[in-house]
Symmetry: D2
Subunit: 205 residues, 4 copies
Amino acid sequence: MGNKLQNYLDDEVFIVQSECGISLVNAKLQIINAELSMRYGRKVINSKLNRIKSYESTVAKLERKGLEKKIEVVHEKINDLIGVRAICSYIDDLYQIADMLCNQKDVKLIKIKDYIVNPKQSGYRSLHLIIEVPICFQNSTHWIKIEIQLRTAAMNYWAELDYQLRYKKGEKKAFIIGEELKSYAAMIENMDKKVLELRKRIESI
Amino acid sequence: MGNKLQNYLDDEVFIVQSECGISLVNAKLQIINAELSMRYGRKVINSKLNRIKSYESTVAKLERKGLEKKIEVVHEKINDLIGVRAICSYIDDLYQIADMLCNQKDVKLIKIKDYIVNPKQSGYRSLHLIIEVPICFQNSTHWIKIEIQLRTAAMNYWAELDYQLRYKKGEKKAFIIGEELKSYAAMIENMDKKVLELRKRIESI
Amino acid sequence: MGNKLQNYLDDEVFIVQSECGISLVNAKLQIINAELSMRYGRKVINSKLNRIKSYESTVAKLERKGLEKKIEVVHEKINDLIGVRAICSYIDDLYQIADMLCNQKDVKLIKIKDYIVNPKQSGYRSLHLIIEVPICFQNSTHWIKIEIQLRTAAMNYWAELDYQLRYKKGEKKAFIIGEELKSYAAMIENMDKKVLELRKRIESI
Amino acid sequence: MGNKLQNYLDDEVFIVQSECGISLVNAKLQIINAELSMRYGRKVINSKLNRIKSYESTVAKLERKGLEKKIEVVHEKINDLIGVRAICSYIDDLYQIADMLCNQKDVKLIKIKDYIVNPKQSGYRSLHLIIEVPICFQNSTHWIKIEIQLRTAAMNYWAELDYQLRYKKGEKKAFIIGEELKSYAAMIENMDKKVLELRKRIESI
C-alpha cells in the first residue's frame, strides 16, 4: 500500500523537481538578502538550510494526522514535504523577508502560519509561509509547494532543544524538561524584543 | 566625463543588481541542467562562469565602437555588461538549453547571435543570447540584461587561445598565429560534429 | 609612506595567499563539523564567515595602536588581517572545535584569547585563536596567520549590536546605549548557560 | 556475506570520512588552481567532480577482478572507492598539478598510473594518482585513499563517449562503435598536442 507512495517519494523526478524548487527559492532569498543587507549595512540572513522530507517522516506525519498513505493526500495535506529555513537576527527582518517573497509575481502564497504572534502550545515560535513556485519541467510549468520557515537565532535555540527533546518522548524526565522549556520560551521572546529595541535605538542615533 | 560612468559601474546598487541577475540565471541553468541530466543520464552542463564587466573594459568597448561614455549608452548598446557562460560537451545541448531558457515566462529574449552557424571572422564560435530577467529590487521590478554564452568544451579551447592572443596584438608573430588559429577553427568544428555523431549512434543502439 | 603598505595589501599574491589560507581553514572546520555533527546527531557549526581586512581598517588599527605603517609591522602585530568566524549554538562546542583544530599537526597555535572567560571591557565575548596554517605556494611553504573567532549565536547578537554602535561613537546617546549594552551582556551570558544546561539534561535522559 | 561489506559502505562513518577526504583534496586543488591561475593569467582547472563508489559498482569491480567481497580486500585492492576528477585545458597543466599535489608533506603518493603516455587498450587517456591524505577523526589520524583523475577537456570527451558505450556492451553495434572510438582517440590526442603547441607559441611572443 505504502509502496506506491515510497516509490513516488524516492523517485528521481520528484527529487529533481524538489531540488529545482529549492534552488529557485534559494536564489530569491539570496536576492532579498543582497538588497536588504545593502540597504541596512548589515547581514540580514545569517544562514539557510533546506531539506526534503524522507518517506519515513512523511508516513509518520500521515499516521499522526490519521490520513491515508496516498500520493494525492500527501500533495494536498502535507505542506512541508519541501522545506527551506532562513535564520536572521531580528524579528522585523523576518516579516520584511516574508513580504518581499510573497510580493513577487511568480510566488503564490498558500498560507501564512504566524507562530510568532500565536506560538504553538509547546512554545514553538517561527513564521511559516506555505508558498508555491513555478518550475519549468518537461515542457510544462509545475507549481512546487514549499514551506518557508523564518526564525531568529533566538527562536532557533528553542526549536533545536525542543527537537532533541522530541526523541526522548514518553520518558518522565522528558515531560519535566518539556514543561521547563515551555516556561523558557518567554525568556527567548524577551531576548528577541530586547535586541530589536536596542538595534532600533542605535539606528535612531 | 567618464567619472559619472565609473561611479555608476562601481556603485553598490549596480553591483548588487548585477549579482542578483546572475544568481537568478544560475538558478535557471541549474534547474535546466537537473532536468536534462536526469532525462539523458549524463551531466549536460560541465561548468559555469560569470563576470561583471569592469569599468576599464567597458570604456575600451565604448571607444572601439565610437560611442559616448554615458550610462544610458552603456545600457542600450553594451549587451555583455553582465555575462554568464555555460560549457557543455555537445552542440545539440547548447540549443536545447537556449530553448528551455527562452521559453520561460520571466525571460525576455532580446537577441540571439548564433556564432556557431555564422562564426565571427576570427573563427570564434559560440551561441550568444541577450536576455532580460526581472529582479524585484527596492519595491519595483528591474529588468536586468545579461549575455548568455553557450559553448562546447571544444569551442572553449579555441576561444581561450584567441583570448590569450588578443593581448599580444600588434606583434607580427601574433598575426601569423592568428591566421593559423583561424584555420584551426575547422578542426575544432570537425571534432564537435564527430563527437555528436558518435554520441547519437551510441544512443541509438 | 602608506602606499607601499597599500600596494602590498591590494597585491594579487597577498590576496591569493589569504584566500588559500581561508580555503584550508574552511576545509578543516567542515571536517570537524562533519565528525561532531555525526557524533552528536545535531548540526554543530551553524554558519561560517570570512574576511580579509581592508587597507583602510588595517591603517585605522595601526593608528589606534600607535604603530608604524609598515608591512613588517602589520605581519607581526596585526593578527586579524585574515579572519574566519564560526557560529555555534552551544559554548562547549566552541571549546571542542578549538581543541580539534589546534591538535592538528599542520596547525600552529600562536595565541588563545578567551574572551568568554575574560570578556573585554565592552562586554564582548568570543573565543579567539590566532593560528598559522601552511600553504604550499611558489615551491615553498608559507605559514599564513589567521584569526579564528568562535562564538555562540547569543554572543553574536551582542557583537552585532556592539559593531553597529561603534559607528555612532562620540554621540551622547551612543554612550548611554553602550552602557546599557554592557549590562545586557549578562543576560546573553545567562542565556548561553541556560540552553547549555537544558541540552545536557536532555542528553542525559 | 556481502551484507557486512554493504553495511560498511553505507555506514555513516565511512561516508563522513570519505567526504572529509574529498573536502581536503578539494581545498588542495583550489589552492593549486589559485596559484597557477595567478601565475599564468588564465583559469587552470575548468571544473571538478567527485564521487564515492556505490556498493553495487564496488561489488561489480570485485567480481570482475575475481576478488573476495570483504572490507579488507576493498581497502587494499580497490583504489577508486573515493574519486576526485579535475578537468583542465592543457596537458602540461595536468602534470604540474600532479607535481604540486604530490610534493605536499601531508600527501602520500601510492601510485601513478599515466594513461596519457600509456593509454589503456580501449584508448582511454588520463593521468591517475592514487594518494592518501590524513584526516583527523575521532582523536586519531586516518589516511584516506583517493584516486585523483586529471584530464584535459578533450580526453574527457573521449571518456564520456566510452562510458556511455559501456552500458550497451554485448551489442554488435556497440563493438563496431567501440572500434571506431579507439581509432578516434588519435584525433583527440592530436587536438591536445595542437592546442598546447599553439598556447606555448602565443606565450612566447
